[in-house]
Symmetry: C2
Subunit: 319 residues, 2 copies
């Protein structure tokens, strides 16, 4: 079975760990969000791709969900001693090496997809990890600054530095409209038996991937079950601050509203958490098959059970 | 008093420490060799400039004479895990930060001289440190490979990886003939009261600086005392493997031969070590004032005494 997964960072990565356990023989292609990518200290940092790669490759800091295990921060301390920031982005020494290798390869002319493949040759994540695009896409968030002036900041600045503490007026994946899907992305979707949307952020993770022209259409036209899992449980994001960016695109932070945001043109099935059982009827009324099951990825067993529910729903949809 | 010093790495940096002690009120300009510079992992590394900066700024690893004190090697270990080398060049985590800042600034369009000034704003070396040139100069060494084929390797590969263990057939500062002195270099020489050649490598350190068109001429024409100190003591280099590269340019590894290699057109005074007292007459016969004094930089006091001898000789020459 060929499964394509659209993934953001932490949630997507943990979901994929469950998918590998639930479907050990499946051929897995992950289309990773690169709208979070940022240039720091002249280095290209791809947080979502790295979180997937480190998580599946056994190098992740399990507790925080991103970055490397057993990490130190000597380089960052030295950069700060030079007065070079930002200090709010936590790049560790081991992590730096990944960005150094990536930047060197990009500088030598390799596209991001080739670089990602080279990095994965070390990590062996057990999936084919593709960036959504080799072209630069950068998610910007419109906020009001301290003087009340509207301004755009990089998504990482909004998310990491500001911790989504101010309202997001708009979320714009800058460059997405000109971006082309990376080599293999459309082919993987066309050849997929199932497409899954993990409980990643529907705006800045999966939404950004879908904003690359051709990807949404390829999924809608693939003629295979497309099943998603709600990142909202009990009217709040399971993790992160998805409600802040949902508000910016005019979508309520509910399991039902997110499903309807994706829409029945894209989504065939949707899993909501057991606490949101009353959303099922509303989602089904929108033409999307829905079921309420436990959706908290508390451990690998719980995550694997979630994935099994998603795959079961895909088979129901197919039948 | 305005003093200009042409400096390589370790020897030059230690000499400068003595100079600061011997002439605390002098205005010191250091013209640093950049022929050792190398791109590693996509980053611009300037070993000689950094050795001077770290040594005078209190950040040097005193024992080895280069690199940072209290250093770790996490980034390098990770790069090796990616299969990315070279492994023979010892870049530590703290040191990496310097190269990251430098590379980022160069990428933003700043010339190396401006970058060096920015880095020195942190280290406050107490001297004005100028790269010999903002243009790329790279010292290559012609050697025979294992199959007996003549090939050119980067100086660092010859020096660090091969530890000068094979004969050097030629030493070529690639790009030097097209390089321009960095801003301030010729001005500093023109305004100097004294020019000093520390016991740095006469071929790959001071020789490379002198290979930048205009620098040798400016020193020869400055009309001020030019005094050097022999890096060869008792027919062997005090440190490093200067004899190997001297052979490549047809110069004997003796205190006298090095003075005559610089020549009386450039050099007014020359200090040899006490053990080389019999070289004095030969050097003076070549038109260069010479004296035998202790030249081992065993500690700051010994180094300061050496510098005082050099400054005293400069005043004799002037008179």
């Amino acid at each position: 079975m060929r499964i394509v997964v659209l993934a953001g960072g932490i949630g997507g990565a943990r979901f994929l760990r469950g998918l590998k356990a639930a479907a050990p023989d499946a051929d897995l292609t992950v289309i990773g969000n690169t709208g979070d990518d940022i240039h720091l200290f002249g280095l290209k940092v791809c947080p979502d791709l790295d979180t997937v790669m480190y998580t599946l490759g056994g190098g992740i800091n399990e507790e925080q969900g991103w970055g490397r295990t057993d990490e130190t921060f000597r380089v960052k301390e030295e950069l700060a001693a030079y007065g070079v920031g930002p200090e709010w982005f936590g790049l560790g020494d081991r992590d730096f090496a990944t960005h150094i290798v990536r930047t060197q390869m990009l500088g030598a002319g390799y596209p991001l997809s080739a670089v990602t493949e080279a990095l994965c040759a070390r990590w062996k994540p057990g999936v084919r990890l593709l960036p959504m695009s080799d072209d630069r896409v950068e998610t910007h968030v419109a906020i009001d600054d301290e003087d009340g002036e509207r301004k755009a900041v990089h998504f990482q600045e909004y998310w990491v530095r500001l911790r989504a503490s101010v309202p997001a007026h708009a979320v714009v994946p800058v460059g997405a409209d000109q971006a082309k899907p990376a080599p293999g992305v459309l082919e993987a979707i066309a050849e997929a038996d199932v497409v899954l949307f993990p409980p990643s952020n529907p705006v800045v993770s999966i939404g950004t991937i879908l904003a690359v022209p051709g990807i949404r259409e390829a999924i809608a036209d693939a003629g295979v079950p497309v099943v998603g899992l709600s990142p909202i449980v009990g009217d709040a994001p399971v993790r992160g601050m998805a409600d802040k960016v949902l508000a910016a695109v005019g979508v309520e932070a509910t399991a039902s509203a997110v499903a309807r945001h994706y829409g029945s043109g894209l989504l065939d099935g949707w899993l909501v958490d057991s606490v949101d059982a009353d959303a099922v009827a509303e989602v089904e009324a929108a033409g999307i098959r829905c079921r309420a099951v436990p959706l908290m990825m508390t451990d690998l067993d719980a995550t694997t059970a979630m994935v099994r529910e998603a795959l079961a729903m895909a088979e129901e949809v197919r039948a």
